[in-house]
């Protein structure tokens, strides 16, 4: 390894990248666009759920219950229902997601100190929201009804994310997804371009070793990727007001490993094909889709079937997403995250070894 030769490759690559302003803008802006789109759009928080009421009772008690729903912040009264047909229609059209049915005897029963019942009908199309909505409805009804004699007193404490905002969870995960979306694609296209145009033959004819070539290519793309990290982490934490509990230095140190890992994946993809289109599709299948769907970013891994958990473990996204969340949300230190960080490091070395090996085979 000769440091001068590596720098020469880096200089050449940097010059080529700087001549292509479109690529630079895309690589710096797209991550931010994704951050904002997904930071806002991917939320499973439930608020202002449109609900309808079929009040057969029309007593002060029933009105108090309806008010409790409307003022909870979770529900918004949009429809007053009278009759079975109207109820069916409102739910079917999706005008309301929840219907509260209060029977005629409701107020009278309560006034006499007798237990009563109300019906809560929830649109179950999106099962997850339905469950949360039904839970809130339960809680509101209990809160609004006169106290009875409880036998249990549950004390609930939610740690790390007490307000249960999903953006606190989404943003630290997005760091991992965005970094797996762009650097590999950029790197792969950068190398395959030389293959397509044939200029790679000149490299092979020079005294440059494959390790030096890879290292030289790595530096500029690694730098771009690291700037992306800074932008995404900076904007993500400040704009979305995600509370940061851990050590920023540790997060950046592990991000650096991850950056090399993603760029290495791009290099590996570039050794598999000679065509830019194929390189792009491969980058999508090997990096973007798994990072979005199988990294635990949105869909928790522990609920997947075992074989698909193994599939998820074959991609680096999972390790970084977990580490990033542990550091940002739980304030975890190296002692807690070393398993994932170590896995990431080992993964990165394996990727580079594979890329260099595939590359050398081509030369011979």
């Amino acid at each position: 390894m000769d440091i001068r030769r590596i720098l020469a490759v880096t200089r050449k690559e940097t010059r080529e990248i700087s001549r292509d302003p479109v690529t630079i803008w895309v690589s710096l802006l797209m991550p931010l666009v994704m951050l904002f789109l997904f930071g806002y759009a991917i939320t499973l928080d439930v608020e202002d759920v449109p609900f309808g009421v079929w009040d057969e009772d029309r007593s002060p008690e029933s009105r108090r219950l309806i008010d409790a729903f409307a003022q909870s912040g979770y529900f918004e009264l949009v429809h007053s229902i009278s009759g079975e047909r109207e109820l069916d229609e409102a739910l079917e059209r999706g005008v309301v997601k929840l219907a509260l049915v209060i029977p005629a005897s409701f107020g009278r029963n309560l006034a006499r100190g007798r237990p009563s019942a109300v019906q809560v009908i929830v649109d179950g199309t999106f099962s997850n929201t339905a469950q949360i909505v039904a839970g809130y409805a339960d809680a509101i009804v209990q809160e609004a009804s006169p106290p009875a004699r409880p036998l249990l007193r549950p004390e609930l404490r939610v740690w790390y994310n007490p307000e249960m905002r999903s953006v606190n969870y989404v943003v630290p995960g997005l760091f991992g997804v965005i970094l797996l979306a762009f650097p590999p694609l950029l790197t792969a296209l950068g190398v395959v371009r030389e293959k397509e145009s044939g200029s790679i033959q000149q490299i092979f004819a020079s005294p440059l070793t494959s390790a030096e070539f890879i290292a030289g290519k790595l530096l500029p793309y690694g730098l771009i990727a690291f700037v992306q990290v800074l932008l995404v982490v900076g904007f993500g934490l400040t704009w979305f007001e995600v509370p940061f509990r851990g050590d920023l230095g540790l997060l950046f140190a592990i991000s650096l490993i991850y950056v090399f890992c993603t760029v290495g994946l791009g290099l590996l993809v570039s050794t598999l094909t000679d065509k830019q289109v194929v390189a792009m599709l491969l980058a999508l299948v090997l990096t973007l889709m798994p990072s979005f769907l199988f990294s635990g970013f949105l869909f928790p891994i522990f609920t997947m079937p075992y074989t698909l958990q193994l599939y998820a473990a074959a991609f680096p996204g999972q390790y970084f997403v977990e580490t990033s969340r542990d550091i940002v949300m739980k304030g975890a230190g190296l002692r807690e995250v070393w398993v994932n960080a170590g896995a990431l490091l080992a993964y990165t070395f394996a990727i580079f070894w594979l890329a260099a090996w595939r590359f050398r085979k081509k030369v011979a």
Binding site: L91, V118, F126, Q131
Partner: protein, 365 residues
């Protein structure tokens, strides 16, 4: 003119069918992808890692613990000795929830006093946490109600009868199957026509077509009709997949196919539009990728549109996929017909018409 158009259509159809990779991709997206994502991706919460701290150690407390360990929503991972240790388990991720039953639990219960029970919950994943909390409170509520029934008094003054409509078993699978079918239609509908037109541009054969007496309109229709037919046919294997996952088909097949066709017109027009403004295959792929990506995930395919901020909800109105998602969920899960879905149909029609018109204009140039 009919013959000219016919022969062009035959050529396009042959070309379409010869593209093995594309056909394989279509079949893959409509079946394997649907299956894989449906099996793996779910927001349903099962097997939440639960740490149990039973400081009471009485038959009563064991009864409560057992209620948590027998259901599949929770998976007992161990019994830390103290609450502080349970906290450390939460910190290291070994457990996601801890149930702490303090000393004196049974004694208080027997005296009919309210006995405290603690639940510590890892809130990092707010969604999982909210659902796990619901399960836990449900189990506590059952325990309480059964005990109250034995004592002969009510614990709650108002009982909530909960009914879930359209998806009684509350499985995410039916949503995911339908969502992936819609995604597949969108991707193929946009990428296939875009790639097929740009390829002719790159190869230069489009010039040859331009000098023939074939009109632009004929060329346009011939280019897009095979995709439309293919995408409609590709829906059928997906219907089998949906059937295999026990997704009910409550509405009419005719309604579904008609509205799918209407949706595909928008998707295909978008593809032609992309092909008209790009020059190389790579550009076309990049543009459709960056254009599709937000469109795919912001249309209620992964997370419901209702929980997005208002501005994005308004913006999502222009996405044909958003309206199509409502159609496909409505037809399958709710059994909606045209009379319920006319709004979505109208929206699809308007979006389709606008996209189609701009595609024809851009294509003519």
């Amino acid at each position: 003119m009919g013959r000219r158009f016919g022969s062009l259509l035959v050529k396009e159809t042959i070309q379409f069918c010869r593209d093995r990779a594309m056909l394989a991709l279509i079949l893959f997206l409509y079946t394997a992808e649907v299956v894989m994502c449906t099996v793996a991706l779910t927001f349903d919460v099962k097997h939440v890692a639960l740490a149990i701290v039973d400081q009471d150690g009485s038959p009563r407390s064991r009864e409560l613990v057992e209620r948590f360990t027998v259901v599949q929503e929770f998976r007992a991972v161990g019994r830390p000795a103290t609450e502080a240790e349970a906290g450390r388990w939460l910190q290291s991720g070994r457990a996601a929830m801890a149930l702490v039953i303090p000393r004196g639990f049974a004694r208080r219960l027997s005296r009919n006093e309210a006995a405290p029970v603690q639940l510590l919950l890892d809130g990092t994943n707010s969604n999982t946490a909210a659902i796990a909390r619901g399960y836990a409170l449900g189990i506590l509520g059952e325990f309480e109600a059964e005990r109250a029934a034995r004592l002969g008094h009510a614990v709650r003054m108002v009982r909530v009868e909960r009914r879930i409509w359209y998806n009684q078993s509350l499985s995410f699978a039916s949503f995911m199957v339908l969502s992936m079918i819609a995604l597949a239609s969108m991707m193929i509908g946009v990428i296939q026509p875009a790639a097929s037109i740009v390829r002719e541009k790159e190869a230069g054969t489009i010039e040859q077509l331009m000098v023939t007496p074939i009109s632009v309109a004929e060329l346009f229709v011939a280019k897009t009709l095979p995709t439309l037919v293919m995408c409609l046919l590709a829906v059928f294997p997906s219907l089998l997949v949906a059937h295999a996952f026990d997704v009910p088909m409550r509405g009419g097949l005719g309604t579904f196919l008609a509205l799918t066709g209407l949706f595909l017109v928008s998707a295909i027009s978008l593809g032609v539009l992309i092909a008209s403004v790009t020059r190389t295959l790579q550009q076309a792929l990049l543009v459709s990728f960056f254009g599709l990506f937000p469109l795919l995930f912001l249309s209620g395919t992964m997370v419901p549109v209702e929980s997005m901020p208002d501005a994005l909800q308004v913006a999502s109105q222009v996405s044909p996929l958003r309206h199509y998602m409502e159609v496909i969920l409505g037809v399958f899960l709710k059994g909606s017909g045209f009379e319920d879905l006319w709004r979505q149909a109208l929206a699809l029609f308007v979006i389709g018409a606008v996209l189609f018109a701009s595609a024809v204009i851009a294509f003519r140039r």
